[in-house]
Each structure stands twice: as C-alpha cells, then as structure tokens.
C-alpha cells in the first residue's frame, strides 16, 4: 500500500473527512458573516460571541426548561437572532452611513460585553452538553471511526448553507437583498421596506452563528470564550472566498477546513497560521478573493 510522505492513505482519508467536518463550521459561520457584511457593510465582530450564545442558549434550554437538542437547534437560533435584531435596531442601525470601522468598533465592544457577562454568570470552565441519544455512537468506515454526530454536522451544514445560497442567489427576496446591498435608498424608493429587510438579515446572519453554536455544543467545550478567537479565522475565510460572495464563503469554508486538516497531519504546528498564509497569498494573487468578482 502506498504512503504519502509517510502517512498511510487511511489516515489521510480520515483527516480529509475531519477537515470537511471542521470546514462545516467555518462554512456556516463565514456564511453568516458574509451575509451580514454583504448587506449591512458591517464587520460583525460579535459573531463569535453570538456563536457562543447559540451554544449557551441550547444549554439553558436543556437545564432550565428541559428542552432537548432537536428543538434547541431551531429555538436557539431564533432566540439569539431575536437578540441580534434588538441590537441591530437599537445600535447598529445608527452606523450604516459611516465607515465600517465604526461598525467594527461597536460590535467589538458588544462582544466584550456579551462575553464578559457570560463569564460572570457561568464562569470560564465550561458546561457539559451531551450528544443527543439518536446520534451517539458511530460508523466504522474502514479507514476511520466516524462518529454519527460528526456526520450529522456535515449534513446539517450543507443543507443550511445551500438553502441560504439558494435563497439569496435564486429567489426574489434574495434579489432584493443583493440590490439593497448596493443601493438601499433606491430599493426603498421602489416600495420595499429596506430597514426591515436589513434587520431581518442581521437576525438571520446571527441565527446562523447561533446554529453553528448549537451544532458545536456537544463536541466543543461550551464556555464563554469559545468564539473569541474564532472571528478572526472566520473573517479570513470570508476574505479568501471573496467578500460578498455567498458561494465563495461556503466553498472556501469547506475547502479551508480540509486544507487545515491536511496541515495538521504534515505540519501540525502550522495549522494555526495556514489560513492566514493562504489569505496572504490569495490576496496577493487574486485580490478580490477566490470567488469574488472584480468590479
């Protein structure tokens, strides 16, 4: 049996699959970020905090109300999205006409507040959240043991990503969104309620982050810092994919998950920076991003 640089093919296959799973998280998160950036021109620095809230709300639903994983998968994004809508209405909406620097600063401050509050009430050690019974165990694929839950993560994110893509690129609502990105005033002058659309979009993007949070809760430590550093990586994914490109964000998310996975095999120390190295290279060669269009 052949080996690649001393790595047996089974291991390589396993790593590719794992990369794909991590890519699922990147894809869902960067999708939310791309949707928000695309429409609101806001770099949503609270995205990581909202991802964390998604996981926490799932935990709260279970521990305070006895509501399990499956309903939480829907409820938690709704709850967090609703909180996002409140933030958008009360604060973020005042910044649309300004440089995106200000949006970044505001959402950065909000992230500090949200994370700080959760730290104060729930500590930093993390909270347990079990894998739902239906998804426990796994499949032996021959080359690796694939936990059922991980399989579900891929399926769920692919469905959500492509559903979102379809909605934005192929439906009338999506056309409104894209048009409002370019020229909200004119779209308003056609009789469309742009502010409400923007608010809902922000809520939706935040909901995506929370959805990723719920997906993450059973396998990653549910703690207030879980999203703190993530935002930078996810933002890099959006940039590599091409700002404003929905499909770009999705494909790059999955793709970079795989690349990162391979780095973990061949040069594990480098797996933390590989995304940034790729980003630097991509921006040098194709500044508009892999899937971005030059305008």
């Amino acid at each position: 049996m052949f080996e690649l640089l001393g790595v047996p093919p089974q291991v390589l296959m396993g790593q590719l699959l794992i990369g794909l799973i991590n890519g699922s998280f990147y894809a869902v998160l960067s999708l939310g970020l791309a949707v928000i950036f695309g429409l609101l021109n806001i770099i949503n620095f609270t995205h990581g905090a909202q991802y964390m809230m998604g996981a926490f709300v799932a935990w709260m639903l279970l521990n305070y109300l006895g509501i399990g994983y499956w309903p939480a998968l829907v409820l938690s994004p709704l709850v967090v999205g609703a909180i996002g809508i409140v933030l958008e209405r009360t604060m973020i909406s005042r910044l649309y006409k300004l440089d995106h620097l200000y949006g970044l600063l505001l959402t950065f401050g909000l992230a500090l507040i949200i994370q700080g509050l959760f730290r104060n009430y729930y500590g930093v050690s993390g909270l347990p959240y079990a894998i739902p019974p239906a998804l426990q165990g796994g499949q032996n694929l021959g080359f690796m043991f694939l936990p059922n839950y991980r399989g579900w993560v891929i399926v769920a994110s692919v469905i959500v990503c492509f559903g979102t893509w379809f909605m934005i690129e192929k439906t009338r609502l999506g056309a409104y969104l894209r048009a409002a990105t370019e020229n909200p005033e004119l779209v308003g002058a056609f009789g469309i309620n742009v502010p409400r659309m923007i608010t809902l979009t922000y809520g939706f993007g935040v909901g995506l982050a929370a959805f990723a949070g719920v997906l993450a809760a059973p396998i990653y430590s549910v703690n207030p810092n879980m999203g703190a550093d993530l935002i930078i990586v996810v933002f890099a994914v959006v940039v590599i994919g091409g700002m404003g490109s929905i499909m770009g964000a999705i494909l790059t998310g999955f793709g970079l998950g795989i690349v990162e996975g391979l780095t973990r095999v061949f040069y594990p120390e480098g797996s933390a920076v590989v995304i940034f190295v790729i980003m630097a290279i991509v921006l040098m060669i194709k500044p508009e991003g892999l899937f971005g269009s030059s305008t």
């Binding site: 056309a175 009789g191 305008t295």
Partner: protein, 242 residues
C-alpha cells in the same frame, strides 16, 4: 404665482408647495412650488446645482430632511418614507441610473414589486427595448450606458406606476439613443402616463413636454408652456445662462 392663476391646481395629480430641503446642514431647496396634472409631461429646467435632482428626490421621499408640502392625488406625503410614497404609484429613474451590478438584466427588470395590475408586461417591454431582450442574462452593469438607461426606465414601467420621475434620462448618451428615448416618452404619454422630466438638454425637452418649469437656486422661478416656448426663448436662455 403665474402657474396657479393660469391652470389652477384643483385637478393636479402632484402638487408641490413651499418645499424646502437640506443635505445635512446645507439648505438646498428654498420653497419649491409647482404642480403636475394627470397625463402631463412636465420638465424641470435649470443650471447645474439649481436643485432639480434634489426636488425629485424630495418628492420621492429620498431626502432625509425636507419641509413644506407635497400632495400626491390630494394626499400629503411630506412625512412619509420613500417606500410608502412608492406604493402610492410613483416611480423614479434616478440620475445615476441605479442599475444593480449583482443582478442580471432580467433580475434588475423584475426587482421593483408590482404595485398595480396594469403595468407593462415583460413582453411589451422587450418589444419596446429589443436590446434588453437580447442581453437579459448578462450582468446589469455590463450593459452600455444607453442600455442601462433603457433598463432603468423599463423596470419602472413594469410596476404599474403611472407617474414617473425621470432625472436626466439623456445624459452621456449618444444622439441616436437620445432620439429613441424621446420616442419612448412620447409613446408613454399617449398611454396616459404622467411624467416629470429633469433635463439639461432643453431642445430634447421641448420635443416631449407640455410645460416647463425653470428652477434656480432651490426655487421655481418661472413656468413656460411648451407652445409659448418660441416666444420666451430669450428669457429661457437668460435663465440657463446660454
């Protein structure tokens, strides 16, 4: 004012009086008065920076800070938001055309929601502007300037709005296309559309309009009916500084 005594405003579809408008701190409109009747084509003429575009925007609700009165079919709209004004059956073709680059030609065309049932059908539009049919799959802003202008007009015809605000539809266009747009406006007038047209090119304006308002420093300073244009040409030249 001259206009009022001559035609009266009772049957006006649009009645603008004492309209003031600001961009941030700068006061741009200082009390614009004019009216438009059902089925009329009226132009706003004036020099650069006179406030024509601003007037159009204020009517459409696109100016953040405005005061005075804009009545549409008898209803006061000064404090309404753009989208509510649009739903009253009025549509704008902006100065900079506003074609969306992330949308295809067809998506651009279908973007404004239908407000009434009697808008032009897509077939009818393609009949009017064959170029658009040919290129309906391409990206909106890849069209040539003239085609973009056609698209900007076409997309508001679909909505069923019978009251159109056209801001310099001929700017930067080749003479041959200017003529085509002139024919289109005449055809629309035949169908009972009401149109407010902003123009630099007053020869073009004369070929389509019923009346002309002269705007100067944020005010309407004169009204000249088209049939009296020849008699007033000296005066008009003086207004426009030719």
């Amino acid at each position: 004012m001259e206009t009022r005594t001559e035609t009266g405003t009772r049957d006006a579809l649009l009645e603008v009086s004492g309209l003031e408008g600001w961009y941030g701190e700068s006061h741009v409109l200082h009390g614009v008065d004019f009216h438009v009747k059902q089925g009329e084509v009226v132009t706003l003429l004036g020099r650069n920076g006179a406030g024509k575009t601003t007037t159009i925007k204020a009517i459409m609700g696109l100016l953040d800070k405005r005061r005075g009165s804009v009545k549409l079919g008898g209803r006061e709209t000064i404090s309404l938001q753009a989208r509510h004004i649009a739903r009253m059956g009025i549509a704008i073709c902006p100065e900079e055309r506003g074609i969306f680059s992330s949308l295809s030609v067809e998506e651009n065309l279908h973007l404004p929601p239908k407000l009434a049932e009697d808008g032009l059908s897509t077939d009818r539009i393609f009949e009017l502007f064959p170029n658009l049919k040919e290129r309906r799959r391409s990206q909106g802003t890849k069209l040539s300037g003239g085609e973009q202008q056609m698209l900007a007009i076409a997309r508001i015809l679909r909505t069923g709005s019978k009251f159109l605000l056209l801001d310099e539809p001929t700017e930067g266009l080749a003479p041959v296309i200017v003529q085509q747009i002139g024919r289109t406006i005449s055809a629309l007038k035949e169908e009972g559309f009401t149109i407010v047209l902003v123009e630099q090119n007053f020869r073009f304006a004369a070929s389509v309009a019923d009346r002309h308002y002269v705007v100067e420093q944020g005010r309407v300073v004169d009204m000249i009916p088209n049939h009296a244009l020849d008699a007033n040409i000296e005066k008009l030249h003086a207004y426009l500084g030719v």
